[in-house]
């Protein structure tokens, strides 16, 4: 499942639904990203996506992750529009037979979503709004998965 939503969501309910009726899976890992207030410098985070294109691009990488980590299943829910500090921005769940694959796939998907996924991010604060590009750390985080492939 890959979905974009303008509405706030409950990560706990998503986990409950995702983990239900999985008698052979063994491991479910999840990550929830939450909008930060940045000590008052960000009052609202705004994310823009290109509906259709954004889901398709995420699906390509998630399909790759499913094979690479032998996942049984995955779920990705991403907020778009305006997001207040404290609200969940992204939820990723992975299901695999063993924990290592579930953890690593979740980590890999988040590194992709934070660095290369087709979103455009704007921070609204007391000094106005600004468009944000990925941090160097975000690029380094996704690059380490390339290294692991080549060694």
């Amino acid at each position: 499942m890959i979905r974009l939503t303008f509405e706030p969501f409950d990560p706990g309910a998503l986990l409950t639904a995702f983990a239900a009726d999985r008698i052979e899976v063994g491991a479910v890992a999840t990550f929830t990203g939450i909008a930060r207030a940045e000590a008052g410098s960000t009052s609202v985070l705004e994310l823009e996506a290109y509906p259709g294109f954004t889901e398709t691009e995420i699906a390509k990488v998630a399909g790759h992750a499913k094979v690479r980590f032998s996942l049984d299943d995955f779920a990705i829910l991403h907020r778009v529009g305006k997001i207040a500090p404290g609200e969940a921005v992204v939820f990723v769940a992975t299901a695999a037979r063993h924990r290592r694959a579930a953890f690593e796939a979740c980590d890999f998907l988040m590194d992709y979503l934070k660095s290369k996924a087709p979103f455009w991010k704007k921070e609204h604060g007391p000094d106005g709004a600004r468009w944000v590009e990925p941090r160097a750390e975000d690029h380094a985080d996704i690059a380490r998965w390339d290294k692991e492939t080549s060694t």
Binding site: Y50, F53, L113, K116, F119, W120, K121, W131
Partner: protein, 79 residues
């Protein structure tokens, strides 16, 4: 009429997000937009700006038909 979509900082710069524009080629569309708004024209040709035709990234020039969706995508920030 191609349907032209701008994302991220490009729509802020242009002051619009979506427009119908008549143009037979992507290159002619770029020239038309640059003729109306030189800053936007420069931004659309700037580093890291990609173009998708009907949601598929293309490089170089391409013909447009009446229903082509042309999206200008600035560098993606991740979520």
């Amino acid at each position: 009429m191609a349907r032209v979509l701008l994302f991220g900082r490009l729509s802020d710069l242009a002051g619009w997000r979506e427009r119908e524009i008549e143009s037979p080629f992507l290159s002619a569309l770029r020239a038309k937009l640059a003729g109306e708004d030189a800053d936007l024209g420069a931004a659309l040709a700037g580093p890291g700006v990609q173009v998708a035709l009907d949601q598929v990234i293309v490089r170089g020039d391409a013909p447009l038909n009446a229903s082509t969706e042309v999206a200008f995508l600035p560098p993606m920030s991740g979520g």
